[in-house]
């Protein structure tokens, strides 16, 4: 490895070790790395926004004579009114435009993807069972999924007290949810360990060149 790369890798390794030192207790090395990351990330964001939005989406269109791009720019500048308490209310106009568009767009699409398609999928479990004349485990599993979905939804339904039959179904619903959360936990362990493995792969193989 050449000298510049060795130095750069060593800087990265020392910063890695500085962050790991937090495991023992909070200390100046960790605080240094943490604050440096905040500053550098903010700086990176400034650069990215400048070159990916300001130049191609504001400067270049105006330069090309597309004058109407002045409208979103003015609306954007109004956002900065937030910085002044007296004029803060002015920032509500661009905010309202943004919120109006993003909530309006969400209503039909979220309805479709998260509700209708999911209900469709649940009905499909039954219809495909008939269409394919499924047998054995498939039938049991599909029925279990359906019961599980209904029970868990009943658990989320708070307009009726969870007593009697509703209470029993809701309790089964919690059981189903617990299996789901358990599976998520199992996957989360794998996810977190992966991050550690990658860091140690870097320290051992890229920095120390062991093996």
């Amino acid at each position: 490895m050449d000298w510049p790369t060795t130095i750069a890798t060593t800087v990265a390794a020392l910063l890695t070790l500085a962050v790991f030192s937090f495991l023992y207790k909070d200390n100046p090395f960790y605080k240094f790395a943490e604050h440096l990351m905040v500053g550098v990330s903010a700086g990176y964001w400034v650069i990215i926004l400048w070159y990916t939005v300001v130049i191609p989406k504001m400067w270049q269109p105006l330069e090309a004579g597309k004058w109407y791009y002045i409208i979103p720019i003015i609306l954007g500048i109004l956002m900065w009114a937030r910085l002044n308490r007296k004029w803060q209310w002015v920032s509500r106009y661009p905010l309202a435009f943004y919120i109006g568009v993003s909530t309006g767009v969400a209503i039909p699409l979220e309805m479709k993807a998260k509700v209708i398609e999911q209900l469709n999928g649940s009905v499909d479990l039954v219809t495909t069972m008939y269409a394919t004349q499924a047998s054995g485990m498939t039938v049991v599993n599909n029925i279990l999924i359906l019961i599980g979905i209904i029970a868990a939804l009943i658990y989320f339904f708070f307009s009726k007290a969870h007593t009697g039959a509703t209470g029993s179904i809701a309790k089964f619903g919690i059981g189903v949810l617990m299996v789901g959360f358990g599976a998520s936990f199992g996957f989360t362990v794998m996810a977190r360990i992966s991050l550690l493995i990658e860091r140690l792969q870097f320290l051992l193989f890229e920095w120390l060149k062991w093996g």
Partner: protein, 282 residues
């Protein structure tokens, strides 16, 4: 102090040390574990495998260094398969800390492909990197209308219209699928807005934390494949025939998981011993 009580009160730093050493040592010991391939991963591989040379896919790299460990191997493996099959790739990076990393991943994939086959993949011809724009939901919708709405230029500032590869690519109708490798909620937007509005086939590679949440979408067919966490990455590395960091990581995962299960057992033994003692005293 009795043994059971001691089990209940191990200092957290011993737990840290045990885990750290387990990972460190198992990284150094040469052994491997089999990587069985799941249907969720194979579906993605088969989909790309059946595409023709010259077809295009959209690879959405929506993660930052915090989840790079799990997701980078997926990105590199998918790029390898696409390059080998001569499939054109439109790449975007909708995480603010992601563009430099996505650009580096492309460079790595191009260099590896050149080393393997002697063939140099060209930016603008074999792949394009459009880069980053804020607010993923609206950007995803914008690209569905026309890639040029959010991205008049690519990451390097070159007008998209001047890139040869983009001449025949207007919007999602011109790509065969979107492959979203993500550590953020961008995946939800790709499902609701990308697949939901534009009906483009979608497959996802997500972190372990997120993976289980997307099985309902897999059953409905809103997504045609899932790569879940490092295991998903290792499966894809195996499928494309280049075992790398993810496959190496899986043996370490096994040891680390065993350590954690041992700690769960110790904690539970301690808990039941204490509970028994309490009940006896009552």
């Amino acid at each position: 102090m009795k043994l059971a009580e001691k089990m209940f009160a191990i200092d957290r730093r011993w737990v840290y040390l045990a885990l750290g050493l387990a990972v460190l040592i198992s990284l150094k010991i040469p052994f491997s574990i089999p990587i069985p391939i799941s249907k969720e991963a194979r579906n993605i591989y088969n989909f790309i495998d059946t595409l023709k040379a010259g077809d295009a896919v959209h690879l959405a790299i929506d993660y930052d260094p915090s989840t790079l460990a799990e997701l980078h191997p997926m990105t590199l493996s998918i790029l390898k398969q696409c390059f080998e099959k001569k499939i054109k790739v439109v790449v975007t990076a909708l995480h603010q800390n992601g563009p430099a990393m996505a650009a580096a991943a492309l460079d790595t994939a191009v260099a590896r492909h050149a080393a393997r086959s002697g063939e140099q993949m060209k930016n603008g011809v074999d792949y394009v990197f459009l880069g980053y724009k804020p607010y993923p939901a609206l950007i995803i919708l914008g690209m569905g209308q026309n890639y040029r709405i959010p991205f008049p230029t690519d990451y390097y500032g070159v007008p998209v219209d001047s890139l040869p590869m983009m001449k025949h690519i207007q919007n999602y109708d011109d790509v065969k699928a979107i492959l979203n490798v993500s550590g953020t909620s961008a995946t939800d937007y790709w499902i609701s807005y990308g697949n939901g509005r534009y009906k483009v086939p979608l497959a996802i590679g997500v972190t372990g934390v997120m993976a289980t949440d997307y099985y309902p979408y897999w059953q409905t067919g809103q997504i045609f494949g899932i790569l879940g966490g490092l295991k998903g990455a290792a499966e894809y590395e195996t499928l494309v025939g280049t075992p790398g960091k993810a496959v190496q990581g899986m043996k370490v995962q096994m040891v680390a998981h065993l350590i954690i299960i041992v700690f769960i057992i110790i904690g539970n033994i301690g808990y039941f011993a204490q509970r028994k003692k309490r009940e006896q005293s009552v």
